[in-house]
Amino acid sequence: MLKKSLSRNLVTNNLISKKFAFTLLTTSMLSLGLTACLPNEKQDAKVVINKNPYPSTYQVLPAESTLLTNATILTGTGKRLNDADILLVNGKIVQVGNDLSAEQATVIDMKGKWITPGIIDVHSHLGVYPNPQVESHSDGNEMTSPNTSEVWAEHSVWPQDPAFQAARAGGITSLQILPGSANLFGGRGVTLRNVPSETMQGMKFADAPYGLKMACGENPKRVYGSQKVLPSTRMGNVAGYRSAWLAATEYKRAWDKYDSDYSAGENPEAPKRDLALDTLMGVLDGEILIHNHCYKAEEMAVMIDLGNEFNYHSGTFHHAIEGYKIADLLAANGNCAAMWPDWWGFKMEAFDMVEENVAIVDAVKNSCAVVHSDSATTIQRLNQEAAKVMFRANENGFALKEEDAIKWITANAAKSLGINDKVGSLEAGKNADVVVWNMSPFSVYAQAEQVFIDGAKVYDRFDDKYQAKSDFLLGQQLNNHVNKAVSNSATK
């Protein structure tokens, strides 16, 4: 069964690369033959923008059908099941419930353990700001222009960042890698499966939409203001966004016209490609999701209007320290807000932190509250980050339960990334991304014991076989001395 699905994936990948080659060929032919375009002239091959030129080559790790039994299961849909079972077959969740049985499945008794969906971090810089934090690896912020929509974080990802392994030991199964926040438009983010791979493509979450990183507030105006380039103020920030969206609107109009003229049988000249505008047009087409670094209430409100002005959705507000001040507005407009439980004070725009921010944003109907890390350290304990919010909020009038709070790092995070049809909850048909914890993940002593991605075990705390190690750390701790027994036998 496994082999079948593997070969099917390979076939699909071949098809994609063939299609890609064809597009390249026709584009070059076209550019050679461009002269005039008369209505009744024979049509040139249509110019099509390849939207997936660096496709995922991710393969599910070796897996077997698994039935995990007798655990406390938090489904990510707001439910908690006691003494419950979950069946993973062919990379999917087949069933979640009590007293399940399955033929030909490996049954593992998880009595006393807790099971949650795989943890998802919507805001990470692993691989683009990796460890060791050396200049040669500092690839997360293209600080050369306030609009670098043309750059893609995936082209900076160093898959050997040891932090990927550390995050996996903390139950992270999917994560979005974003460019930094120096620019108004920082470039595209990419969603990865947290599996070891030699290539970025080997980690890439197939069919996950791209993200576009935008940034409000202090960072862009500080970086460019000091270079005497717009923006040096918050009003400069907004002017910068608006100019870019104006250009993107025109670019989209040109491509839409090209498409409709071509469909009408004409032979129009294709608009000139622009990598930055490709990305912005992707947002206007609803294919690329906005991920907006934005701390302050008044700025988020402006960004929501900006989206309405240019007819795109303002997406997820990241960091959103002041989300609690406009919780109603965020929910009414369908924005997710990705927040820390308690980081604050490192900047003026992070001064108004409250520990209940996530809970206050979450309490509004149709809300989408997310707990994110933005850190190679706390990504390893996103469960505890959520726990801090839950307990502090409950000390102050909330009545949140584990089955509610787990959503902030699973289902809501998946929604923010546009992958909630595939991951983020333990439901039949979803990808089998599962974490087994030694106790309630809301304890400071909690540890992920086993982690599954698409039904395959990718981490086991007690089995070295399932503990991956980065190339970088391999061989760093070798003993320089040949041990005596060996050297003796060598001289004999």
């Binding site: 932090a163 550390a166 308690d342 409250v354 206050i360 505890q384 400071v444």
Partner: protein, 430 residues
């Protein structure tokens, strides 16, 4: 007793408004009864125990059955079995020196000119909004370590309590800080040499002065004997062991060099950072050197820290090293110290060792009269709703020098404003 205090406070009042807010004013006696007391001392954990506090000090500790029938205390607090620990002591941060990280005008933690004489305690702000927030994590005092300038010596540390009072600085200039290790602008060797040479020069100067004192007759020579400069005096304090040397260093070679210096100059050495300490744990234990480190930095952040791991605190403690758990990062979230210690416990550290790592070990290494629940110690105490390290637990009550502290911070005021129902703009909710 009370009259004396009143007189004292009146006397202070004559000196001006500053004295009125000092913490010595209140001398109320408190008995905390029926507590599970984590003494972090020989008695270990005492259940149903009573702690008596007078004049800001712990004056009695009664275990179950020893409690006298009538307790002569102004206030009696029934702990109802809850856990009472010494107040946690944060370390290695910039508390009270930085209000907003990126607002340079609120940063007093460093200075280009800073050297071994840099006394950042003069800049400490007891009214910083960070202090009330830190108390919510059970922190009652902190060892603040400014990071000076670009020189090998980055200044001197100081100790504060978190009362928010103007007299919060308990010990100014209590240790000298050096920052060693990898250096993007030159070789690490230069700083090691500078440190070594300075100590050697100071030792020679002292010997010379001593010789001059003993071999010369009274008169002219003595008059001419040089008064040590402020910098020299700092070196002398290190050589006499009066001041600990806090050395930030990660790589094992740097740590071993420091251990050698300790032996050569009889230094009172505390290692900070110390990522590679696990490689030389036996040597550190043998030299009786304290290690101040993060419990959660487990990534190879640099080529000096390839051995970072969540199990390092437990490993070092098992090897007999006295470990202080410090927060990583600056100081806005030092109230997380208890969770960092919790992570260390989850990774093999005994709970009692974890508690010592944020209380007694700091006090012992920096000569503070706190960090334990024992007679004569400062009454810096925390009453917890449950296990101090657990996320579900909160601080129920806190005393600093025997005074009950507020557990509200600016964050609470903001939350209350935005969770209160009103038909007026929020600005009217105060």
């Amino acid at each position: 007793m009370k009259n004396t205090q009143l007189l004292t406070s009146l006397r202070y009042a004559l000196f001006g408004a500053l004295a009125v807010t000092t913490s010595q004013v209140n001398a109320e006696s408190i008995a905390i009864t029926n507590a599970t007391v984590y003494t972090v001392a020989k008695q270990g954990i005492l259940s149903q125990a009573t702690v008596l506090v007078e004049d800001g000090k712990i004056t009695a500790l009664y275990s179950k059955g020893e409690v006298p029938e009538s307790l002569n205390a102004d206030t009696v607090i029934d702990a109802k079995g809850r856990i009472l620990t010494p107040g946690f002591i944060a370390s290695g941060n910039l508390l009270g020196l930085v209000e907003v990280g990126a607002v340079s005008a609120t940063r007093d933690s460093s200075d280009k000119e800073a050297d071994e004489t840099f006394d950042a305690s003069l800049a400490f702000n007891p009214k910083s909004t960070l202090i009330a927030y830190a108390r919510k994590g059970g922190i009652t005092s902190s060892l603040v370590t400014p990071y000076g300038g670009e020189k090998v010596f980055t200044g001197q540390s100081f100790v504060v309590n978190l009362s928010g009072d103007f007299d919060s600085v308990i010990a100014g200039q209590n240790a000298v800080i050096v920052s060693l290790g990898s250096n993007s602008k030159g070789s690490r060797a230069t700083k090691l040499q500078t440190l070594s040479n300075k100590l050697e020069d100071a030792q020679k100067a002292l010997a010379k002065a001593e010789k001059a004192k003993t071999s010369n007759k009274k008169g002219k020579e003595e008059k001419e004997a040089k008064i040590p400069s402020r910098s020299e005096q700092v070196m002398n304090d290190l050589l006499s062991g009066d001041k600990p040397l806090i050395a930030y260093a990660d790589r094992a070679t740097d740590i071993l060099f420091l251990l050698k210096l300790k032996q050569q100059f009889n230094l009172n050495l505390v290692l900070a950072g110390a990522s590679d300490a696990v490689l030389v744990s036996d040597e550190i234990a043998k030299a009786n050197v304290t290690v101040m480190m993060s419990a959660i930095d487990n990534l190879p952040g640099s080529f000096d820290s390839l051995h970072n791991s969540l199990i390092n605190v437990a490993k070092l403690t098992k090897a007999g090293v006295k470990v202080i758990i410090s927060n990583s990062g600056e100081s806005h979230n030092i109230n997380q110290l208890r969770f960092d210690a919790g992570v260390a416990i989850a990774n093999g550290l005994e709970k009692t060792s974890a508690l010592a790592a944020v209380t007694a070990n700091v006090a012992d290494s920096f000569n503070l009269n706190s960090g334990r629940i024992a007679v004569g110690k400062n009454a810096d105490l925390v009453l917890w709703s449950s296990d101090p390290f657990e996320i579900s637990t909160k601080v129920d009550a806190m005393w600093i020098n025997g005074q009950a502290m507020s557990l509200k911070s600016r964050q609470d005021a903001l939350r209350e404003r935005y969770t209160t129902t009103t038909d007026m703009p929020r600005a009217y909710t105060k």
